[in-house]
């Protein structure tokens, strides 16, 4: 790609279309202006380009830069007119909804699930020969679902074909219909190559069948790339082409439109690769929560379709249970009252907390939504099951435990996005929510996405990685600070660690949090000496030295113990929650004499 001076990127979300302008400045690429407008995929407009043009108009008004010539984006850029590149992502119309199938639930079916999720899909169901459902139930389930696309995998190359053929027979018998209309549902076969002929014979009549490489050619190796690319291609050809206005939008863009979550994932993957980091990211929305991770170079994404802060908030309460939510609330709440409040938020999802009490309840729910989505992510972000085993049937069906790839001690950075995190009245609240839900260990940098521009940067990274990375680190991230948390437990009130942050020395007792201010853009040499029962990554009682970066909150020593355990006794627990709130200066009613204030960055 040549020298890009001005780049325009839109993300067509289900409710809002967001446009950002990225310009080349002497210091590098910067995100300069932003506009938004309601998405126009649904009636009465039924043309996504209307919303895109409106969002671009807003960028034009704010920036004073003429970008549109009538309804055409002017390219290339000339001094203060037009842009060199226009790109877009999209999740409008419900995103990409997929059904995946594989022979063994925890092996090929799991690989298929990882593949679809990584491609930015919402997985409606996972079918497997051993999923416990009898055949007629599987067929009935397939009939009821109306996916945009199906991914069928199963069997290693050269292995037995009967199980995957059986799944194909179920699919053929069910004949599901595409969600957005059109003739046949695209179906990708990425299983045992020896079964291809049979698959063709059974499925080509009822589906738009596409065959690609096996996602699990041998048990020891996952090969998700070809199937993932095919998903993207078919998403554009079949799903996007059915959505109103997209065929025109596809003409405007300088590179393929990406599903929004796939773009977010790609940006995270790029950032992690370029900086050599292990990253964890979360986007908590009204309806769903997406979790992304890159550990040791392995990228994983999960979507918790019914965990969110508005439409799905009553499901957070249902899944977590009242007790788990209330454990984060520092005052007594009547169960009936809480249930009604939560349901009222579900049916009127655009309301916002207007009392401090209400905000604290919302934060309690957010912790549980984040925690549950993370637990689901951990289950899927695992090494390959079935590796190094004899491939006999009994072994293939064995479901051995495989360690999660997520190791919080090696996690370098956690990035949060979504209203409850990005728009928390105090940044310390966002930091505390992330600390409580993810329980970072050792040294972990925490940040929030300022205006949710990761999708834009992800699609840009496909074209110009440098430009996307520069904007990502400079404008997208709002750094909260660094959390330093040792593994282990001790006696409350006893010393947990001593520290030196630059010239400042101090200590923290077990059960406490201490915030040391270290401002935005500042760095400090930090040395921490944990007591003998505590481990900061170098082993129990071993000191650790590191260069630590600051942020709007600062350096937070979290000595509450890992795993984090809250007292059973209600009064004791509430007292502790109030103490931590004071130590973090979380709310206007929790200021503590002698602690460091953290009201920055508003």
């Amino acid at each position: 790609m040549g020298d890009l001076k001005a780049i325009l990127v839109t993300d067509c979300g289900s409710t809002t279309t967001k446009a950002i302008l990225i310009e080349k400045r002497p210091e590098g690429y910067r995100q300069t202006f932003r506009g938004e407008a309601p998405t126009t995929v649904e009636a009465p407009f039924e043309d996504v380009t209307r919303g895109v043009l409106n969002a671009i108009h807003e960028v034009e008004e704010l920036s004073g830069r003429k970008i549109l010539d009538g309804e055409r984006i002017m390219t290339p850029a000339r001094s203060d007119e037009g842009v060199d590149l226009y790109l877009s992502t999209s999740s409008a119309g419900g995103g990409l909804q997929m059904l995946v199938a594989g022979v063994v639930l925890r092996m090929t079916a799991e690989s298929a699930q990882r593949c679809a999720l990584g491609a930015g899909a919402i997985v409606m169901d996972v079918l497997a020969s051993n999923d416990g459902r009898p055949g007629y139930e599987k067929i009935d389930r397939i009939r009821k679902l109306r996916p945009d696309m199906i991914l069928l995998s199963g069997g290693t190359d050269g292995g037995t074909i009967s199980h995957v053929v059986e799944l194909a027979e179920y699919l053929a018998a069910a004949r599901p219909r595409p969600r957005l209309g059109g003739d046949k549902i695209p179906l990708i076969y990425a299983g045992n190559k020896d079964a291809r002929e049979q698959i063709r014979r059974i499925l080509s009549e009822h589906f738009a069948l596409h065959i690609t490489e096996n996602i699990r050619p041998v048990l020891e190796r996952e090969n998700l790339g070809p199937a993932r690319s095919l998903i993207h291609e078919l998403f554009l050809q079949h799903v996007m082409a059915q959505a109103p206005g997209y065929s025109e939008l596809m003409e405007w863009v300088g590179a393929d439109i990406m599903p929004t979550p796939a773009a977010v994932g790609y940006m995270m993957e790029t950032a992690a690769r370029r900086e050599g980091l292990n990253l964890l990211g979360v986007d908590i929305g009204g309806a769903t929560t997406d979790v992304f991770s890159v550990f040791g170079g392995a990228f994983n994404r999960t979507v918790s379709a019914n965990l969110g802060m508005s439409y799905s908030v009553s499901n957070v309460l249902a899944e977590a249970g009242l007790e788990k939510v209330l454990r984060w609330v520092p005052f007594r709440v009547d169960e009936e009252e809480l249930r009604d409040r939560v349901k009222n938020k579900t049916i009127r999802p655009t309301t916002i907390p207007q009392t401090l009490e209400d905000l604290k309840i919302e934060h309690a729910l957010a912790r549980e939504a984040l925690r549950l989505a993370f637990a689901q992510h951990r289950q899927l972000a695992v090494g390959l099951r079935g590796v190094h085993r004899e491939r006999s049937i009994s072994d293939v069906f064995r479901q051995e435990e495989v360690e999660s790839l997520i190791d919080m001690m090696t996690c370098d950075m956690i990035i949060g996005s979504g209203g409850v995190l990005s728009h928390a009245p105090r940044r310390s609240q966002a930091m505390m929510l992330l600390m409580d839900a993810y329980e970072p260990l050792g040294f972990t940098r925490l940040a929030v996405d300022s205006i949710f521009m990761m999708p834009h940067l992800g699609v840009l990274a496909k074209v110009d990685e440098d430009a996307a990375s520069q904007v990502f680190w400079k404008d997208c991230m709002v750094y909260l600070g660094t959390c330093i948390a040792p593994l282990g437990h001790g006696k409350r009130g006893r010393r947990c660690l001593r520290f030196r942050v630059g010239d400042l020395e101090g200590e923290v007792t077990f059960g406490d949090i201490k915030v040391v201010p270290l401002g935005y853009g500042q760095e400090a040499d930090v040395e921490v000496f944990p007591e003998r029962d505590f481990d900061l990554g170098a082993g129990k009682g071993k000191s650790v030295r590191a260069k630590v970066r600051g942020g709007v909150v600062g350096v937070v020593f979290d000595c509450r113990g890992r795993p984090l355990m809250l007292p059973e006794d209600e009064d004791e627990r509430r007292k502790l929650l109030r103490k931590w709130a004071k130590q973090m200066d979380l709310y206007p009613d929790s200021r503590e004499e002698g602690n460091f204030g953290t009201r920055f960055g508003r």
Binding site: S14, A287, S312, D340, T350
Partner: protein
Amino acid sequence: MAHAYTPGLMVTDRTIVRKQRLLPIEGEVLVDLGVQVRAEDVVARAFLPGKVQNLNVAHLLGVEPGEVRKYMTKVEGEDVEAGEILAETKPLLKWFKRQIRSPVGGTIESISDVTGQVLLREPPEPLELKAYIDGRVVELLPGQGVVVETPSALVQGIFGIGGEATGRLHIAVEAQDEVLTAEHILPEHRDGIVVGGSLVEAGAFERAKEIGVKGIVVGGIRDLDLKELLGYELGVAITGTEDVGFVLVVTEGFGRIDMAERTFALLKRYEGHKASISGATQIRAGVIRPEVIIPRPELNPEDISEEEVEAKGIEVGDTVRLIRAPLFGRIGKVTELPPEPTEISTESVTRVLEVELEGGKRVVVPRANVEKVEG
């Protein structure tokens, strides 16, 4: 940022209700354009493909999948009765003979040489689509359904459960702030739609089922009672397929909340009239709200102007309902609309408005937390 304006729900004495009635799959339209239909009339019909049953004949007979066809007594496409022999072995000694009988009636869909599996398809199930409202067929959608139209009074609720029902309206309480209890539900409410006030008690649900009430319309419901009624925790507000014995339409929300005065007065005015109600609710994309439709055939559709409900902002003097704790459900008049974002007690900076509540008390609340009470 949240929307600064939440459009209110429709509560109106006269409007044109137009309902698109669509079959889930292609079928046959049974009525002509322009005819008058009743809610109970079937307007279109389709046949859903029968359910599929699978039998692994290879396993059941203990033979190789590739040999299954040899033992089948039926071929693909052939009809089979429940209990009829599908496949059998032919040993020399008949004591060793094994037979497979069909668990269901239907046709043989496929016989697999790879898996040894036989798929049986049950006969198609007829699916009848009713008109849902008394009205006139104004559009035919060949193979798909019809559009039925009628001048009506209409109340949109905020949340509901259950599908569609029709019945006469019975106002069971004296006022909009009264709680609907079991005692309010009387034998003469059988097949009817019972209107309550601020809350429905769990006891009323049992009574409604006993009596055979078709629907309940009420201001509020407790979430715990809803869980009890459904038998499970409702996680996501997508409803319409529940079967609890009646259709429930909640007009205001969860907890005890007086039914809006206008809503109650309107329903009261049509006591004894036939109404169609639906509990189907979907809050996410493509919003569906529950509804009470009271057809008014005496009105001339041409006399009803179809106002475009514009999403225009709230103005001083408008009546609004507060839709967030701690004043959830209270009604008031907008007295001030400061243009600048203001810091509220959570420290969020947001656009607010001042409301004078019934009783004269004035409160400042985020604009996102009110909805216009409109007709």
